[in-house]
């Protein structure tokens, strides 16, 4: 029997389609009202509520007062990374599994890598917009003074990029956890919520019992929040941190370990479809 020869696809299309997917993903993200609210606007809403509710309180020592907005800004930036990355990806992809989107892709010549480039690109674009919105609101609505040194913004840059990438990859890895697209929110949101409470987003991390601090230190959100505090809290505040230092090496190390874990889990578990399910 003669075999039909199948023409090869041109090289370089993985990246081209990945970029095309980013545009498609960002467009559909902003058309989805609930995800825009619960992942994009949520940290902004929380920052506003805390800043207004505790506007009379001093979050710093008596000799160096700190407004509620200044205190909560780093936490909300870190929460934004987690929401835009992990929560958004896990729920979005679980939904695409459930509604047949991935099954459709499985029958097309779309490379899996292009799909991931599209997802991570979408997280990156929305994460940047979210961070900019948070910074603008903090600066111009609540008069938080932002750092001026190049070094601080460099730290912000790497903590942001590493954090948002890790959160996105962990979201993709977790998307296999919900049994259906419909149960995705119920499975993912509690995980994200508990992490935010124990990692110094809503509650002052320094005031948590040390056993809870130890548990939180296993997970990346605590480190992402710590990295953000290192950027945005005034000098001297590291004395409140565990060990009395910002420990940026720890931030990089633990976050990177979670990035690798996420990549491995994704590599092992992600399939367009489960055959014979």
């Amino acid at each position: 029997m003669t075999t039909t020869t199948i023409p090869h696809l041109p090289a370089g299309r993985t990246l081209r389609l990945g970029v095309s997917r980013i545009g498609y993903e960002v467009k559909t993200y902003f058309r989805q009202g609930d995800s825009v609210f619960f992942t994009f606007l949520f940290p902004l809403v929380m920052l506003t509520i805390f800043s207004v509710a505790f506007s009379e309180q001093n979050f710093g020592p008596d000799d160096a007062p700190l407004s509620a907005a200044a205190f909560y800004l780093p936490g909300m930036l870190a929460a934004g990374l987690l929401l835009s990355g992990l929560q958004n990806m896990a729920i979005d992809i679980a939904g695409e599994k459930g509604d047949g989107t991935l099954k459709r892709f499985a029958g097309t010549p779309l490379p899996v890598l292009s799909y991931f480039i599209g997802k991570i690109g979408q997280v990156f674009v929305t994460g940047v917009l979210q961070a900019v919105a948070l910074l603008l609101v903090a600066r111009f609505v609540f008069q938080v003074s932002l750092p001026t040194s190049f070094e601080a913004w460099l730290t912000f840059g790497w903590v942001f990029v590493l954090g948002v990438t890790t959160a996105a990859i962990l979201g993709i890895a977790l998307s296999g956890l919900p049994r259906s697209g419909k149960s995705a929110t119920a499975v993912i949101i509690p995980i994200v919520l508990v992490l935010q409470f124990i990692s110094g987003v809503y509650l002052n991390f320094a005031q948590l019992p040390s056993w809870l601090q130890n548990i939180a230190s296993v997970f990346p959100l605590k480190w992402m929040a710590q990295g953000m505090r290192a950027v945005f809290l005034p000098e001297g505040y590291e004395s409140i941190e565990v060990g009395g230092v910002w420990n940026l090496e720890g931030v990089a190390l633990v976050t990177a370990i979670w990035l690798v874990v996420g990549l491995i889990v994704t590599r092992i578990t992600f399939r367009w479809i489960r055959k014979d399910s």
Partner: protein, 290 residues
């Protein structure tokens, strides 16, 4: 057009889920440019067959070749030659018809023109509407459009016209006829026997995981199954006679009331095939029970 190897070749295909046998030794070929209709009741194994050939399911045993490739090992090059219209749609579709088609066209090396495809499925008026706001039948047309956007060599259509109104179905038939004249090979499953008769060159009938008949559409069921029936009314009583010489019978009858010569439709032949198969299997089962 060369008379090359078949586009689809299936030999003794079997699929079991635990102790349940979904496919029990199915064999057929589809030649290049041919439209092959796979018919059968729900749960007979049509979708299992088509999903094995699309690469969505693994077979338990037997051989399968699609465009010369084992579908369980088909890569992206192979998928670029296929058009797949799945049985179910369901994605939320926060994009417009035009956006979706333009985006998917980018996946294929020789995609069709987006405007042509939108026109071919009759969605010109809806091209700027979000897919989730379309009716079920209109969404189905988007599925068909996505199936053909990549100019496939082989097009899989799994119950493509479910939810279409009669006019949309006619439009769809015209579209498929055009694809046929362009040389596209098509594997179609459908519950509409008129659709199979209109579009199919050959058909296979699957029941209980077995291929119980296969052949040209106008030969299915054998010559006997096509014996015409003459029906007439005499003194208020309805008479029916199967005969190979209906002309002679009618001439003999003269001018009775309600005279009809009925050629069994594909639907009649199909129902008889499936009905015979069902009664045979139930007999064997009773025999086994005794």
């Amino acid at each position: 057009m060369t008379t090359s190897a078949p586009v689809v070749s299936v030999r003794d295909l079997r699929k079991t889920y635990g102790s349940f046998t979904a496919l029990d030794g199915v064999s057929f070929d589809i030649a290049r440019g041919e439209t092959f209709a796979l018919l059968g009741p729900n749960g007979a194994g049509k979708s299992t067959t088509i999903e094995i050939l699309e690469g969505y399911r693994d077979r338990s045993s037997g051989e399968a070749s699609v465009l010369g490739i084992d579908p369980s090992k088909g890569g992206l090059d192979w998928k670029a030659q296929l058009g797949i219209v799945l049985q179910s749609t369901g994605e939320s579709g926060n994009v417009t018809v035009r956006e979706q088609l333009t985006h998917f066209a980018g996946y294929y090396p020789h995609a069709r023109d987006v405007d042509d495809v939108i026109a071919a499925v009759g969605l010109e008026d809806k091209q700027k509407t979000l897919i989730r706001k379309l009716s079920g039948g209109q969404r189905r047309r988007v599925d068909v459009a996505l199936g053909i956007i990549g100019r496939p060599e082989l097009l899989f259509l799994d119950e493509p016209t479910t939810g279409f109104d009669p006019e949309a179905r006619r439009q769809f038939w015209d579209l498929i006829t055009t694809l046929k004249t362009e040389g596209t090979t098509i594997l179609l499953t459908t519950h509409y026997l008129d659709e199979a008769a209109h579009l199919g060159d050959r058909a296979g009938v699957i029941a209980g995981g077995r291929l119980i008949d296969i052949g040209a559409i106008d030969e299915l069921g054998g010559a006997d199954a096509r014996t015409p029936v003459v029906r007439w009314r005499e003194n208020g009583v309805l008479h029916e006679e199967r005969t190979t010489t209906p002309g002679a019978l009618v001439a003999r009858l003269g001018e009775p009331d309600d005279l009809q010569v009925i050629r069994p439709s594909l639907e009649d032949i199909y129902l008889k095939l499936v009905g015979d198969h069902a009664s045979e299997t139930s007999l064997t089962h009773e025999g086994a029970a005794l």
